[in-house]
Amino acid sequence: MEIIELTNISKSYGKTKAIKNASLTVNKGEIFGLVGPNGAGKTTLVKILTGQTKPDKGEVTVLKNNIVKHPVKAREKIGIIPEQETPPSFLNSEEYLQFCAQTRKLTNQTDNIREWLEFLEFKNEKNKLSKDLSRGTRQKLMISQAFFFKPEIVFIDEPLVNLDPLIQRKFKKYLRKYVKKGGTVFLCTHVLSMAEEVCDTVGFINEGNVIKTENVKKLLKQYKNLESAFMRIIK
């Protein structure tokens, strides 16, 4: 079942054409990886898909919602981990998660929040102000805010860069579990080994063009690994 549908999207910032007539679809229950070089348009595409930026033209449907028309409403069921993790500075971690719960109009989230503080192993830092957290912990906080309320889709822009290997493994395992239960993940990365490891499908983007989307298993039959596929396809 298609849960994300992007049709003929274009977006320019002044003279820079960030996205050029891109289309793609993502099915429910899969981990979709968008890979591409720096400046390819990954972040821009995620922003369009999550109603943060308005595309110049084209249609976006996520969870059957027209994102361009109802950008805020659609975000209620969506978790987002932005590229730059900037939680508001003067709330402590626990408060920030409560704040997210309340702005999402959810009740009884205290247990969920505690679960995430424990799962990502930063419970003993829950009283520190977000601005005083280390970058890795800040990223843990942003992961928690995207997942604690059991959303239907989560968008992740560069998920693991600051996490230590142990937490990375834990989190990757969690992602598999999450999609097995019916969740969907859309992630952007240029860490190809990670995409190869966790993604079901990858989309290649370069200079604003979505060049190809393909099942990872199929790709691996054709190429040695995702890296060599990337080198071939993006050129």
Partner: protein, 467 residues
């Protein structure tokens, strides 16, 4: 060299935001407003009072600006905004934080001199052709007004620096001074006393070389002491902060945002001291001065209180600036929040905090003004309605970015032009308070509040959802 870079950076920031001409235009707008002030007021008030009042005005401005002692290093990130990049380079470059800070302060001094003081003094020079103010007096202002501003700034810097180390000491000093001035109000509003209380004003009336040196040494000394005491390091609270956010049975985005903003204001360095130093104290100084200057008009106590309530109403909207300063709607794009709600909650919290602190100020003013108790209720209504209209005009014109957009010449002009008639209206009422029928004043607050609500609704429509 660093200073030059900072100034250039500031210029670039403003000119890319508003365009070069607009940036120059801003000081022209200030000039125009000052010219009006310089031309009109001497018609009514003795030149001596006007000149003294002007000095106290810049003293109050200095106090308000100098409150940067509150926020330690944060000041480099927040008050100086986007140019904080240079401040961060202190970690890489071989320059000390103190050096950078001194340059920032110097830059600020030049900035205000250029944009406020020079236009103000120039206006007086020009108007001296037709008013009772002499050209010598007006030229002298070019020296004494910057000195006054610097004196206020240094004094406030010292107080706020101590405040950020020990609140109690400063609270005691301020509390005692208020009580002391209040008990001896007659004494403090004597011409001879207030002229001598402010060193730069003393210099203005008795320009001697000795006095000039005393003045410069005094302000620079205060400033240097503050710099030595100033906290340059962020100190994260070791054991962290107790969680104030509790799960709610009826969650609402607006309530959550108001609580968050309250916590931000409270936990950022200086906390509520910001409201104290940038709003309450400067206004009290201006009020004491006004009650003196207006004595000659035999303005009734009631009239004076009305005037005060208007001033408090206009300035209380600075709380909105503080609330908007910590925030950026972009930080919440991961949540299902309409930026309209962010604006709504900030306005709501500003109203709550503004009414609380403004009422406190109004009560102190009431004690100063010898007005009747019925007029207190009345002036409260005027205060709230003027506050409402100022806030809604501010929100309408600048949305979620009051701290940057108000420096746009066009926006600032619109802001002043909208508020001026309202202020003038109430001033006229205040001057003729004993002569007119008080019922005449009643419709004004109702009309103002209605307009504010309508304007606020309109400003909600202007806020866009997308980044």
């Amino acid at each position: 060299m660093l200073l030059k870079e900072l100034l250039r950076e500031e210029w670039r920031m403003h000119s890319t935001m508003f365009g070069n001409t607009n940036f120059i235009l801003f000081s022209l707008v200030i000039f125009g407003l000052c010219a009006l002030f310089a031309l009109i007021t001497p018609l009514f008030i003795s030149s001596k009072s006007i000149l003294s009042f002007s000095h106290y005005l810049f003293f109050a401005l200095g106090i308000s600006i100098g409150s940067f002692g509150l926020s330690g290093r944060e000041v480099l990130n927040k008050r100086f905004g986007e140019i904080s990049f240079i401040a961060y380079s202190s970690k890489i470059l071989p320059v000390s934080v103190k050096q950078i800070f001194l340059n920032f302060a110097l830059k600020d001094l030049m900035y205000y001199t250029f944009f406020f003081i020079i236009p103000f003094c120039t206006a007086f020079i020009i108007s001296s052709a037709i008013t009772t103010i002499t050209i010598t007096q007006a030229s002298l202002m070019f020296i004494t007004i910057p000195l006054t501003f610097f004196f206020g700034l240094s004094l406030s810097f010292l107080m706020t620096t101590i405040y950020s180390r020990s609140k109690i000491i400063i609270q005691l000093i301020i509390g005692c001074s208020i009580v002391y001035v209040f008990l001896n109000l007659g004494f403090f509003t004597q011409e001879i006393v207030y002229e001598n209380m402010l060193p730069p004003l003393q210099l203005f009336f008795n320009p001697t070389m000795k006095m000039l040196i005393v003045n410069i040494t005094l302000s620079a000394g205060l400033f240097l002491i503050s710099t030595l005491l100033f906290n340059f390091e962020f100190k994260a609270k070791g054991k962290g902060h107790k969680t104030l956010f509790r799960a709610s049975k009826k969650p609402s985005a607006i309530k959550a945002f108001m609580l968050k903003d309250f916590i931000d204001l409270h936990r950022s360095q200086g906390g509520f001291g910001k409201i104290l130093f940038s709003f309450l104290i400067p206004i009290l100084i201006i009020e004491v001065m006004m009650s003196f200057v207006l004595k000659i008009f035999s303005v009734s106590g009631e009239g004076l209180l009305i005037l005060f309530s208007v001033i408090i109403g206009v300035t209380a909207s600075t709380i909105y600036n503080w609330l908007a300063e910590f925030d950026n709607a972009k930080k919440y794009l991961n949540l299902p929040i309409n930026p309209k709600k962010i604006c709504l909650s900030k306005t709501g919290l500003s109203i709550i905090l503004g009414i609380i602190s403004g009422s406190g100020l109004l009560i102190i003013s009431f004690l100063f003004s010898e007005a009747s108790i019925t007029s207190l209720g009345f002036s409260f209504i005027i205060f709230t309605s003027v506050f409402a209209i100022t806030l809604s005009v501010l929100v309408y014109l600048t949305g979620l970015n009051p701290n940057t957009l108000l420096f746009d010449a066009k926006t600032f002009l619109k802001y002043m032009l909208t508020l001026a008639p309202i202020i003038v209206f109430f001033m006229l009422q205040a001057f003729s308070y004993s002569k007119i029928n008080h019922l005449f004043l009643i419709p004004a607050p109702i009309i103002l509040t209605t307009i504010s609500i309508a304007l606020f609704k309109k400003s909600m429509k202007k806020i866009t959802i997308f980044e």
